[in-house]
């Protein structure tokens, strides 16, 4: 057999204290399509970014085309023959699609002058090969996600690479487009190139690939030949862990409806979203990255606008586009990126917590440090934030403690509903369970919690009810008993054709199951 195109062995990468990749291994042969599967956060994207030269590995072996490789920039990996289609398209919105494809390596004529005529002709030929009708001169701004993906694919194909990595290229594509992409992928394979295909859709993996490597928690789990394995076997390898022990959600008494969202729609982001969250209930909002979960949460909280639909909290309508109103009505929102959106990392813990309740605290418009500390002390104590002094700067704390400070910040407003986006992202395993216990306690005290999470075990372990979003629509609404990794994955990846949720699980009578047309 020929030498493998790509060899990765025991590759590790940490970001600060968080190990994104502990021991990643992947061997790809030329003339083959190799699937890389695993849950969100399993380390697939980190592995890809190391090959692409976005990140540098901390340790391990990395060989490309038989020679040791260590890329410090994407330019180096490109030059070595690696093309990557990223999960999130990287485009220049102000330039036309052809320039987007050829940027940095435009065909040039005499005097190194860009040969525009040739460039547009080549772009047209690429779109032809992919069978799409995109005007090569239209700007990239405003392209649909599907078209953006097509553009990424065109870019990668035009590179004439020996290794093509596709990180969930089909998430936004329709059936016809997926078929065209696969045709191109197969022809590239037949030319002897190596392809890596990352996907959550098992039917596609089994349709397209010949080998599959499974990752879990940043580690290599196993490699199987597609012909000799089954979906069940792969899923078992992916999940492979006792879910309930890690994430204890103590049963709480489910009370009356706190949040009632009806027929929420915003063009291009989400459609006809309806759901309820009850007191004492944790509702998990699952789905793939980019499915529209965070967008829904931001609209409910009033950060983003929506066109139709209503949001009611405890029976009272909440005005749209007003986070102030939402806070006053009793909502709290903890965004995904707490450093950017939820926590002033340069300020002290006390100041962070006091920020939200400042109005209630200040006397004659003045706010003193001692007032802040007095008000905040009990909250931090309740959350066991390990901060010896409240004056400590938030930036110096661990991710877990930072998250607790953010939660403390909002608890001080005494909310009835807590919306939390990726509660344990970037938090090490030990502290994760502390955050989970805290959420469970809060639900036990009668708070309604809407939890967005890309980590399947977290959703399955924590949520009383799981809502699944796929491409901007709710595709499943299942109670804890019915929520399995397979069922959630299925609903998260299927919008067209077979309807998700309903086909596999009978929705409970009281709950509304949104099934897309």
């Amino acid at each position: 057999m020929a030498e493998p195109t790509l060899v990765l062995e025991d590759v590790a990468k940490s970001f600060g204290a968080v190990a994104a990749l502990r021991s990643g291994s992947l061997t790809v042969e030329p003339g083959s399509i190799h699937a890389l599967v695993g849950e969100n956060g399993a380390g697939k994207s980190t592995l890809v970014k190391i090959v692409a030269g976005v990140h540098r590995r901390d340790s391990g072996t990395f060989r490309l085309l038989g020679t040791d490789a260590d890329f410090s920039s994407t330019a180096e990996s490109k030059a070595a023959g690696v093309a990557v289609i990223y999960q999130e398209p990287t485009l220049f919105p102000d330039l036309d699609v052809t320039e987007n494809i050829f940027m940095g390596r435009q065909p040039v004529g005499s005097w190194r002058r860009i040969d525009r005529h040739r460039m547009y002709a080549e772009a047209a030929a690429l779109f032809d090969r992919l069978g799409v009708a995109i005007d090569p001169r239209r700007p990239a701004r405003g392209l649909s996600i599907a078209d953006q993906q097509i553009l990424e694919i065109a870019k990668a194909i035009s590179l004439d690479a020996s290794l093509l990595i596709m990180d969930e290229p089909t998430a936004a594509l329709s059936g016809v487009e997926v078929e065209r992409l696969f045709t191109v992928a197969r022809s590239l394979r037949d030319e002897g190139r190596a392809l890596v295909f990352i996907s959550h859709r098992f039917d596609e993996v089994f349709d397209l690939c010949d080998t599959v490597t499974v990752m879990r928690d940043g580690e290599y789990v196993g490699t199987e030949r597609i012909a000799e394995t089954s979906v069940d076997e792969i899923v078992a390898l992916m999940v492979g862990r006792e879910v309930t022990d890690l994430f204890p959600k103590t049963p709480a008494e489910i009370g009356e409806v706190v949040l009632d969202v009806r027929d929420l729609s915003a063009t291009g982001r989400f459609h006809d979203v309806s759901f309820q969250v009850r007191a004492g209930e944790i509702v998990g909002l699952a789905g793939l990255v980019g499915a529209g979960r965070s967008e829904i949460a931001r609209a409910v909280f009033g950060i983003d606008d929506y066109e139709t639909g209503t949001v009611t909290l405890g029976g009272d309508a909440v005005r749209k586009r007003s986070p102030r109103e939402a806070i006053r009505a009793g909502m709290a929102f903890i965004p995904e990126d707490r450093r950017q959106q939820g926590l002033v990392t340069e300020a002290s813990v006390a100041r962070n917590v006091a920020a939200v309740i400042r109005r209630g605290l200040s006397r004659a418009g003045l706010l003193t440090t001692s007032m802040e500390n007095d008000a905040v002390g009990p909250w931090a104590g309740r959350l066991e934030v390990k901060t010896s002094a409240l004056d400590m700067r938030a930036a110096t704390m661990s991710g877990g403690n930072q998250q607790k400070v953010v939660i403390a910040k909002w608890l001080a407003t005494e909310p009835r509903l807590l919306i939390i986006d990726e509660p344990t992202r970037g938090i090490d395993v030990g502290t994760k369970s502390e955050v989970h216990r805290l959420l469970s306690d809060l639900a036990g005290q009668g708070m309604a919690i809407l939890m967005i999470s890309s980590e399947l075990p977290e959703v399955l372990g924590m949520a009383d009810r799981v809502l699944v979003v796929c491409e901007g629509r709710l595709t499943a609404d299942m109670p804890r008993e019915d929520a399995t990794a397979e069922a959630v994955m299925h609903a998260a990846t299927h919008r067209d054709g077979h309807t998700a949720g309903g086909a596999h699980h009978e929705p409970h009578a009281a709950e509304k199951s949104e099934v897309s047309a």
């Binding site: 009708a133 405003g142 649909s144």
Partner: protein, 349 residues
Amino acid sequence: MSSATRVLSHVVRSRELAVAVVLVALVVVTTLRNDNFLFSPDGWRNLLLNPSMLLILAVGQTAVIITRNVDLSVGSTLGLTAYAVGKLYTTYPDLPVVLVFLAGLVFGGLLGLVNGVLVTFGKVPALVITLGTLYIYRGIFLSWAGSDRITASDMPRDFLALGTKQVLTIPVLTIIALVVLAAVGYYLWTARGGREMYAIGSDPDAAVLYGLQTTKRVLSAFVLSGALAGLAGVCYAARYGSISSGAGRDIELQAVGAAVIGGVAIFGGVGTVWGAAIGAVLLTTINSSLPILGVSDFWQRAVVGALILAAVVLDRVLSARQAKRLAAEREAPTDPPPTASPTRQEVPA
């Protein structure tokens, strides 16, 4: 669509044309009020000559703004270079004119290099860096010159003659500005480096993922802006003959204003030097035509401000409308998506 009609439809809808129409209208109205504005030899010469320095600065400024940066130090660079040229002549009175222009370019380029290095390696926003160097360069100028000033007698006559000399009624300084405009415009349109500047300004993170040499490109934009400010300084010396420490003060804001009026987006990635150049001519012409139209001094500045605001608001409204239209277009045929349907295939011949 043939390429000729495509170019035509592009031009008709362009910002450059819109600004040019405003400029022509302004010249026509002012000339109707006082025909010396255009038809006297002095009027014609001033109309072409006055904008030349601002035009050069606006061209450099555009290259910087396109990369999502800004260069506020160009006024100080202009003044400092103009003074340095005067000093050069007091030391070496027989220096060839070409060499002096070259020295101005190099000197300004070095000052621009300082900006570029601080911005790219210091990772500090250009607004702050160049605000700092604006004061530093001006400070160096002040302490070097003191109360001293360069006068026409310090510089050779043939150098000063360049400031007012005309070829076929076109002033030489204007020709220099137009050559600069054409060269930079050509580079930004048709060289890889120029296109990469647009890409960097359009999305800096994507530029890194594309493997573009972002540091090099941003650095060269600043060097270009500095060098052109130096060139403008030499032109200033030739044109006015007298250089005091106030030379070039506030002109950096006019350069930014010219670019913005000409359709250069302050967040980068959009705009052309042609637009910025027309914007520069418009700004200079407004200053000379408003007095003729009987507009008081205070209102002249307000008019310039209103023009900048109008340009920005227009951009905002247009891009919001475009975003809405594109989102609606995307929604309309949900399944299959627009690309899969056999719609217009516009492949130019």
